[in-house]
Subunit: 339 residues, 2 copies
Amino acid sequence: MSPLNRKVVLASRPTGRPDDSNFTYLQEPVAPLEDGQVLVAVDLLGIDAFIRTTLDEGSFHRGARMGGVIPALGVGDVIDSRSTTIRVGDKVFGPLGSQTHAVMPAVALRKLDTDIAPANAWLGALGLTTGLTAYFGIVDVGRVKKGDTVVVSGAAGAVGSVAGQIARLSGADKVIGIAGGSHKTAFLVEELGFDAAIDYRHENVGARLDELAPNGIDVFFDNVGGEILDDVLMRIVEGSRIVICGAISQYEKMDEVRGPRNYLKLAERHATMEGFAVFHFAAHYARAENQLAEWYRNGDIVMREHIEHGVENFPAVMNMLMTGGHHGKLLLKVSSETV
Amino acid sequence: MSPLNRKVVLASRPTGRPDDSNFTYLQEPVAPLEDGQVLVAVDLLGIDAFIRTTLDEGSFHRGARMGGVIPALGVGDVIDSRSTTIRVGDKVFGPLGSQTHAVMPAVALRKLDTDIAPANAWLGALGLTTGLTAYFGIVDVGRVKKGDTVVVSGAAGAVGSVAGQIARLSGADKVIGIAGGSHKTAFLVEELGFDAAIDYRHENVGARLDELAPNGIDVFFDNVGGEILDDVLMRIVEGSRIVICGAISQYEKMDEVRGPRNYLKLAERHATMEGFAVFHFAAHYARAENQLAEWYRNGDIVMREHIEHGVENFPAVMNMLMTGGHHGKLLLKVSSETV
């Protein structure tokens, strides 16, 4: 008898902040496997900012279909297989979506090596949307080098917290995080080893940057966009690199994005703004994973996890991400049992 | 007896478009020279977009002082000298300003070699704010290479018209200019050898770019900013280079610049926006001048000049630049005699 799949599907496309009316929670029997497919019992989903953009019509990332599950990366256990490469009992990583049971082509999945790191870490420090994204942004795009002053926005989030640590490991002289609330700024400095942190909710970001980076900012790793990006642009120096990783402040109003008003500082200071997504570096994943695994094993990279429970809470947990109600990597354990 | 200097000085700082109330025209005797100074009889001034930004308080470029002449680069003849390096009879280039007679330290001037090119050309095809700016933007920042599709905004202006020609000389497969009015677009295609031109005043820029560059835009040399920059950002490809040279559409409202709303395309397409000013390449002027002089001698670079007359008309000629009432390099012959 086939198991029941519990899932959250898209009921309507949100304008602005998603609410309950945009989602439907339902359950249905799992479809029989076809050749080459496997059935995954989903364990954990990574709750990433890109998910918000998939809810819009014609989004950059492959969008959510109306009535379909919401795209999300996850890890799980293969419990049935008609594949010759991925077998029952394998732990896998892939785009499993907002559901408890995913029927997937084996080629869309990757077998996890839990000798290198536990399954959770493959969504976090070693994850595509977290560790690898931070790595390429700091190393390949930002080209952080010895002596640099590096600023990271969204610094208490998953990508930002790893980005700051990789900046330090790459020789940065000073790593400054920007995050919302004193709990987060304390976490950055005390647990993650950032040199300083700015609470954008209660402090004047520009004035604090002037104090903390009096000689200007060499590299900015931006996850946020909006006013913070403009505050940083005012303080770049000749040769600065602005790394555009994301713009979570803009994702709920993508049809009226606030462009960086101070972008002409790029001309004044001969500076660069370069954007990227992790898949642009697909040819270099092995290099990044090897380096990240080494740092992870040595305890050089700390990843705090924030775990919520129950696939039915997927919309609420997305909302938590968008409003910053977490810190570290936000994960959803799809089982509702909080053993 | 010392000659009379006729000059235009800043009477008040404009908000938005400058008008007559912002300037005063007056004449006064030339001050006696101090050691190391020379007196230049100004012949021609280059009317450049940067001049508008010098009228604002705390501008990027060294600003105009209240009551002082308006900064402008020019060429002229030395008619008195207390310098050992620059003598009476020398032709010179430098920041002569909106006046007929400039007392300058000799070190701020450069002797012109009129064997290489006539004096006018040192404000145009070989000029710092024109030829050299275009060269570094296309060659060093845009890194235009064989096969590229290149778009230039403000293409009928001095910098833009040279930038397009250098793009072609650098191997671009297709060079598309954007300018205002059918006279200008015809000029680009028929006289300067652009492959195509878009009249932004009467055509839909996005739709025309789709037709002319169906495979996307590799390099954009931007002098304009605003909506045109956003139209191009929608059409960049992986690895595109957006070269920020200027943003003439924004110079009259620098306190409320329209930032590029589509800047997140940089992340989607792994593309770069890099700004520069010519002085960032000061160490490379000789390379650029040698190459430009060769192209100029061979007739590979055509520079149309638009010459107005009379230093007292400096404000009106600035206004002509800002509203696009010219094409090619806008020059002001400071003598009012239109011989």
